[in-house]
Structures are given as C-alpha cells and as structure tokens.
Symmetry: C2
Subunit: 317 residues, 2 copies
DNA sequence: TGCAGCTATGTTACCGCTAACAAAGATAGG
DNA sequence: CCTATCTTTGTTAGCGGTAACATAGCTGCA
C-alpha cells in the first residue's frame, strides 16, 4: 500500500519512506501493472481515437490537436484505424470499449447500428468528429461538409466560372467527401447549371492521380473552365499538370480543392481550398473529454460546429 | 465461466447454450472487460509501437506494414508518439510497458539508459526499427543510414558532380538524418572533397522550406552543381524552385533526397532518392513479434538489415 | 440397469493492484 | 506522564475476469 501511495503521489508518506521506495523501485526496474491498477480503481487514463486512415495527412493533424490538449491531463490517446470500413470500425470500437477508456473520439457520424448502440451504452463521453451533418450520439465537433461544398460552389460561380468539372476519389464510404459533392452540386443546380464532366480514381499516389485525371478530363472536355477536386492532394497534381501543359491558371481555368493542407505550401501556386479545421477539431474534441473527466455532471456544449473559410489562393480569378 | 467460454470461443459449449449466451450478450450490449481478462490470463494482445512523429508520412507507412501483419493475428498495435525527445520517449515506453503488451516496436536505437533498462527487463520481445547502426537491445529491423548516406554520395560523385551543397533540418535528435549526413560527408572527404555549402531549417511546411532554402543556398553559392537534401519533402520544394527559376535539372544542377516517398509521385520530375523500406520494416518487425508469440523459445533472426537502393529518378545526370 | 467414457457446466482461487478502513507512531498540551 | 490529535503505515476485500480442476449429464454397450 505504501508503495502504491508513493508511486501514484497519493496520500501521506514520510519523505524517508518515499525515498526508500523510489530507490528500490528504480533499482529493481519496477514497472507497475496498470492492468491491475485499472481493474482495482476502475479508472483508465486512456482516450480511444478511431479514425479511418493514417495515410492521408488529415488525421495525423487531428491527432496533434488531441495530443496537445491531453498532454496537460493524465489522459493518453490510443489510436485505432477503421480503414473506412463500417464493420472494421465496429470491431475497433468494440476492442476499444473493452478496455474501458475514459472517453472515445470517433471520426464521422456514420456507424453500424451495433457500434452506435455500444457507444451509447458505454457510459463514457463519446465525441464524433469532422462532420456535423447527421444525428449525433453524444457530442460532436466538426464542420458541415454539405456547407463546405455549397460555399465552394458559390465562390466559384461568383467568380464567373460556368463549365465546371469534378474530380474525386471513388470512395462510397467517405461520407464527408460525398456530402461535399452533394452540397456542391446542389448550388450548381440552383443556379441552373450541372457538372460538365466528372472523373474518378481509387488508390495510388494522389498527386500522380490528380495529374492523370486532369489530363484525361481536359482532353475529353476542352471547354471546361473550372476543376473542383475532392481533396487538395489531387488538386495539387492537377495544378502541376495545368502549369506544365501551359494553361493559364486561373485565367483559362480555375482550380479548387479541399482541406487546407499545410503540406502543400510551397507549390507553384497556392491552391484554392477550404480549411477543414483539423487541429482545432482535435483540440475541441479532447477538451470535451477532459472536461467530462474533471466535472462529470456538467454537460458541456455537445455540438460544436466550426466554420471553415474559403481561401482563394492563386488558382481562382 | 460458460459465458467466458462462449465469448472467447474456447472449450466445449453446447450449441444451444452458446446461442443463448450470444443472444443475451447482444441484447444487453455486453462488452467484456479486457482489463479483468488480461489480469486473469496474464496475456494482453497489444503491441506497443513507439515512433517520433506522425506528421511526416514516413511513420504512418511503417504503421501500415505493421497493421497488415498483425491483422492476421490476435494482436493489435497501440501507437505512442515520442516527439523526437528522449525523455518523452522514456515516459511513453514506461506507460506502454505498464500495460504489459505482448511486444514492443520502437523507432531508433538511441534511448535513455532508463528506457533501455526497462525494455531489457520487460521480458517481452522488443524490436528496434528503422536504423541498424548501433547496439541493439533485443531485435532490430532497419537500414544503415550511414551506408545510405555513403551510397548516395558515391552515386553523386560517380555522375561527375563536385560542388555539393547540403540542405537539412535542424534536428540534433534525428539520429538517422545525422547518420546519413555523416556517411555522406565521409565519402566526400575520402574523395578529397568537402561540402561546398550548407543550409538548415526547422519547423514549417517542408515543401515551402525546401524552396526557400534552395533559393538561399543557390543565391549565396552560385557555383554549386548538386544539392543533397536530408529528406524528399524539402527536396521536392527545391525541385519546384529550380524548375521555376529556370535551372536545367539535372544538367546545371543535380538534386537528391531521401525516403522514396510515394506521396511525391506526380512531381514535375521524379526526385533522385533512396527508399527507406518503411512498409517492409513495419512488416518484418511485426512478424518478429508475431513469431515470438507463436513459438516463444525460437530465437528468430534478431537483426534484419534491409538494403535500400538508389533511385536516380530524373534529377541526376 | 449399471457403468465407463464422453461432453457440458460449475467451483474455487487467484491475477496485481487500490479503496476504505484500522491501527500504530509521533507530537503536543495539560 | 497521559491522553487527544495528527501523521504514517498496515489490513482486508474485491475489481471482473480466467486457469485448473471438479462435478453433473448424457450416450452407448455389456
């Protein structure tokens, strides 16, 4: 018991005893067994974070926001990757919950019924992030991708572009990309327009794919005056292609992407984009969990919608 | 006990009982407590993975290799981030070990004495990854960054470049970058040469920094005929700058980076680079752990050195 | 019908720690 | 010197599962 007290800095222990304990622990390389500790105290200083992928730079940035906040608390993030697959996500959520974490942060609002039920029953704070367009389990921090798509479309129309092509990934399970696309199209149709052409890809290096797709769509539809990309990475590939192929950007043709990737600062031109507030989303989500830990009854604001803003960069008129 | 048997698919249970248990579990949304299970069975199906950063695309790729292998086992990766700080790494390792994982995968060979001791005493397989230039605790999978630097230098000299500049990050704690740099310089000095100029950065978008640094170094040292970058990302920034500034690459000036980032496929030219075998390193490391789990006594090969090869791309003669 | 030899279920004792309470030691005031 | 009070250390039970062993139910055959 005294050892436990010393190692957790809890309760009164005399300085001499404390020193003796610490010395012994150090000498024998003692590492306490958190499993036993967690079981006994019924507290686990872990926060589960479930994201679809680590490979596209947007989720690592969310992680940074989360880490920064949790560093000031006893909590630690634990990452699970769902690969955009609902069943895999359910599995990961189950696995996470079976470790009885202090909170859960999950990307997206679309889950299997079982996953949703598990999270509801878990009794811990659950924060869904990135997206706000849909029903929320417990709390939510994100942006409206619907609106992001709509606003981008408005900006484009405002600037006089009319023959608009869309380039995106073939990912029916990326609901956020889908919502942006829908929002985008709805503004076009309200203006009596429709997409002039579309081009899709899946897999491979996004930059190279953006290049290829742009060449393909521009070869096919020579009268396009704008290309809307579902993400900045393929947009950057498109920008490189247009630059090399001698297009006047944004004169002949305008380009826009989505995400506001800092990674791409340094491209020949700054791609028009809309920031997805990734770090901020991570911060806010982590704060909600930390807050719930501090004062369990307080129901903090459960729905935080951030407003991304359109950054015209140098690829629109 | 019967419930435990059903939920873990272990031991004989009649079909009727099994169904009843599963039905009840489903109805009540039962999620077993892994903490209790782990304590009782003294097994934890977690593999700790400790990496310096999530933000530069190289570690996520290692994670992919690890995940792919562990997906075929009961094991699950848990990520910890050390931020290139030895003390933080020690903390993360301590935290990890206190959960009694089945194995540990740690990036790099440089650790605090305490961290090294903890890992030695842990009694679990520990695989150090990415680097092989140094003393190993238990097992190791990686490449020699010394040699990578040396071989890049040889390729450059072989192609007739002589006035060589180096551009890198100001990260004294990135030992792998340091080793490449040392290997690189040693070949130059064996050839009676030395670096003509150097330029360093820290923080910010690597692409933009690569651009700035390249402009700075080329403005200062107009007779350089080669630029060696400590990573592909700043190399790509440099390539963009050189292209726009009208340099003939690789005629006037050659460029090379390091990592073999697939991310950059699609750049105006393919940057000369050396693949750091990231996915393969992750795969092999995970296999070592999975192997140790399967047959505990077998001492598999404890030191796996992979051989990166120089990919000249389009930026060297 | 009785019993060997199964299969299916139940019992018990922990796993390593911590909450809650108990006791011992130290200090001080009368 | 003794008791009241505070500080420090110790005891006990139990967290929710699982290993190991024990028992109960069932089957088939003499």
């Amino acid at each position: 018991m005294t050892v436990s007290r010393v190692l957790r800095n809890r309760g009164e222990v005399s300085d001499t005893t404390r020193e003796k304990v610490l010395k012994a622990a150090r000498e024998m390389g003692y590492v306490p067994n958190k499993i036993a500790g967690a079981l006994a105290s019924n507290t686990v200083n872990l926060v589960g974070v479930i994201i679809p992928s680590l490979s596209n730079m947007v989720f690592p940035e969310v992680m940074m926001g989360i880490s920064k906040v949790l560093d000031d608390t006893p909590l630690q993030p634990v990452v699970g990757v769902s690969g955009y697959l609902p069943e895999k996500e359910e599995e990961v959520i189950f696995e996470m919950l079976s470790w009885r974490p202090t909170g859960l942060i999950v990307a997206g609002l679309e889950h299997t019924d079982a996953a949703r039920k598990m999270m509801q029953n878990s009794g811990i704070p659950v924060v869904e992030i990135m997206d706000v367009d849909g029903p929320v389990i417990d709390a939510c921090v994100g942006i409206s991708h619907q609106r992001a798509g709509r606003e981008t479309a408005k900006e484009i129309l405002k600037r006089g572009y009319r023959k608009i092509g869309f380039l995106g990934s073939k990912m029916p399970l990326d609901h956020r990309a889908r919502k942006r696309f829908e929002g985008f199209k709805s503004v076009l149709s309200e203006a009596g327009l429709s997409l002039a052409d579309e081009e899709y890809y899946s897999g491979g290096s996004a930059l190279a794919k953006g290049r290829e797709m742009t060449e393909a769509i521009l070869t096919r539809s020579k009268d396009l005056d704008f290309l809307y990309y579902s993400n900045d990475m393929i947009g950057a590939g498109g920008l490189l292609y247009c630059t090399e192929a001698g297009y006047d950007v944004p004169g002949d043709i305008g380009l826009a992407g989505f995400n506001g990737l800092e990674l791409l600062d340094g491209m020949p031109k700054q791609l028009a984009t809309m920031d997805s507030c990734r770090v901020e989303i991570g911060r806010k989500a982590a704060e909600l969990i930390a807050e719930a830990l501090r004062k369990p009854e307080t129901a903090a604001e459960r729905l935080v919608e951030l407003s991304p803003i359109f950054a015209p960069g140098g690829t629109v008129r």
